[in-house]
Amino acid sequence: MKKYFNIVTLFLIFFLLGSIPISAKVDIGGELAASLINIIDNQGNLSVYPQESLDLELFLPTLNNTQAKFEIYLFNNPMSEGFDYLIKKLYLKHKFDKLHLTLGRQPISWSFGSMLNPVDFTLGAIVMDEETGAKYQDAIEAYVPLNWNSSVSLVAGFPEASQDIKWGLRGRTMIEGYDLTLNYVREPEIDFMGTIIPASQRIGFTTKGDLGPLGVYGALGYYFKDNDDGDLAYLIGGDYSYFFEAGNKIYFQLEYLSIKKDNLSSILGSFFSGNVTNNLNENIGLILGMANYEIDEFSQINLMAISSLNDGSIIVIPGYRNQLSNNLSFNLSTGIYFGKEDTLFGSNVSEGAQQRPKGMISIGLTYSF
């Protein structure tokens, strides 16, 4: 099924490219990034390695309500010590009157403005407000608009590590100024490097709106289990801006996530999940915070933190960004882990377990074109 899906997608894209008139405007854009990653281990040793990446996107004109997209991410992989690539987008979208059909590799994101999303189509597609490669899926999406703010979308995904189809259904509407979504996901059985992850299902609900001067949001997820009661996860959060006398602005975002430890690793992504192998039935309370302060029009500092209320471990992620010119920006980001041995975010792990870094500093330049 998956093989035919890829062949059909490629065939359709070549057909569309062939039908674009030579005079049509085709543009290339993207982002070139170079950075130095510094990893500090528990003994205080520093290992430095460079990281380069190129994000390349082809901008093709829309033809008779049909749009083709191609975006590829090239990067040097420190694991393989060679260049690797990720096709982010390779799809065709046709907008019929009452149906938008998208076929091919596409980003499927059910974000609603939170830093973590326990009810996304792919858990871990967004971690601490940062996108991950997990959101790019081979899929067919049928999107049915109902009115200006309401829609229903059905997704059939083809995960790499499975022969079965992953299904997703999402409804979205707005009531009294609140953006509301209700979704359902059926994950197929996955063979992850020889480990079989059984099929699972979950339903989720999200909302986002305003409460006076505060932006507020929340999510509720229920993870079904075959021979057991299901697991409940919920997230509540808010954001707020404050202007100083000098005109500078600070933006705050704070959220709380309650979730069973068993379900946490997929949401946090592999970067944070080193110490979640024990007490999988324990309920974890996570608190996440972000403060972003604009120094001037071009530069800002931010501070993110995520902490486990169960064991007090914490990751602190300060950062600095400066827009040096129209296309060039400087980025500095760090991550420091605090916590005792075998805590959720602590860098000290039991003997025999995979070692985790104490901290990380990344310094880099990004050029957009």
Binding site: L214, S325, N326
Partner: protein, 252 residues
């Protein structure tokens, strides 16, 4: 014959003087509401399609953002076209703001407090760029003086926000060209009386019978050495806007 022509000339001159005086008298007798209505008639638009540039200047550095704007009486759609922001879209439907992130192709509702913040790092707030209400619906105006700006005689009008109306600035003082009824300068104040922003028009053009500021700057008076320029590159009034333009599905 010559005497007749001189007679007609004299009558003509007298009539012109009378008309000029009449217009002048009428003009000076305009009320604040009539002046602001004339300004609204000139500057207020039913719908527009425009291409614009936003130049953010701070401490000798500047960056330029380009955009495409579609707007009608209640809604606005802005799409950025410069590298770095290409494909980022904002949809404003009355008091609700939505943002489309092109990389993830996701649509997120932006919190209400963000409406008063600088759009993409500029001194123009989302509200400044996308506000489409008539000023007379939002403020009570009175004339507080006259002054010459760039060799143009202007009325100075003060507008105070109407009770119960949501506005970005509690008080605004506008310098309105007495002849062209276009605002050449404006000061925007907080309720505390603090001057927040000042706009000045560098260039105006008569397009389709309207005087339009095509090059203006906005200074954030709370900050030093910073301003944002806004240039209209191309503008169409009352374009045909397809049904479904101001919808979430159109952002995708």
């Amino acid at each position: 014959m010559m005497r007749k022509i001189k007679g007609f000339l004299l009558i003509g001159i007298i009539i012109s003087i009378l008309i000029t005086n009449f217009v002048a008298i009428t003009a000076t007798e305009l009320t604040a509401e009539e002046i602001i209505n004339k300004r609204d008639d000139n500057e207020y638009i039913t719908s527009i399609k425009a291409e614009a540039e936003m130049i953010i200047v701070s401490g000798g550095r500047n960056i330029t953002k380009t955009m495409f704007i579609l707007s009608d009486k209640r809604n606005a759609l802005v799409e950025f076209t410069n590298p770095g922001d290409r494909g980022t879209k904002f949809l404003k439907r009355e008091d609700d703001l939505w943002m489309f992130f092109p990389d993830a192709e996701e649509i997120i509702k932006i919190s209400g407090h963000m409406l008063n913040q600088g759009m993409m790092g500029s001194d123009f707030s989302y509200q400044d760029i996308m506000e489409s209400d008539k000023l007379t619906d939002l403020y009570d105006f009175k004339i507080i003086g006259e002054e010459e700006i760039s060799d143009r005689l202007c009325y100075i009008l003060e507008g105070i926000a109407r009770e119960g109306v949501k506005v970005s600035y509690y008080r605004r003082v506008s310098w309105i060209d007495k002849e062209r009824f276009i605002s050449l300068k404006e000061e925007l104040y907080a309720q505390s009386g603090k001057l927040l922003k000042e706009t000045k028009v560098n260039e105006i053009q008569e397009i389709e019978g309207r005087w339009i500021p095509i090059d203006s700057i906005m200074e954030n008076k709370l900050r030093k050495d910073t301003y944002t320029g806004f240039k209209i590159v191309q503008i169409d009034f009352n374009p045909e806007i397809p049904e479904g333009t101001f919808t979430l599905q159109n952002l995708r």
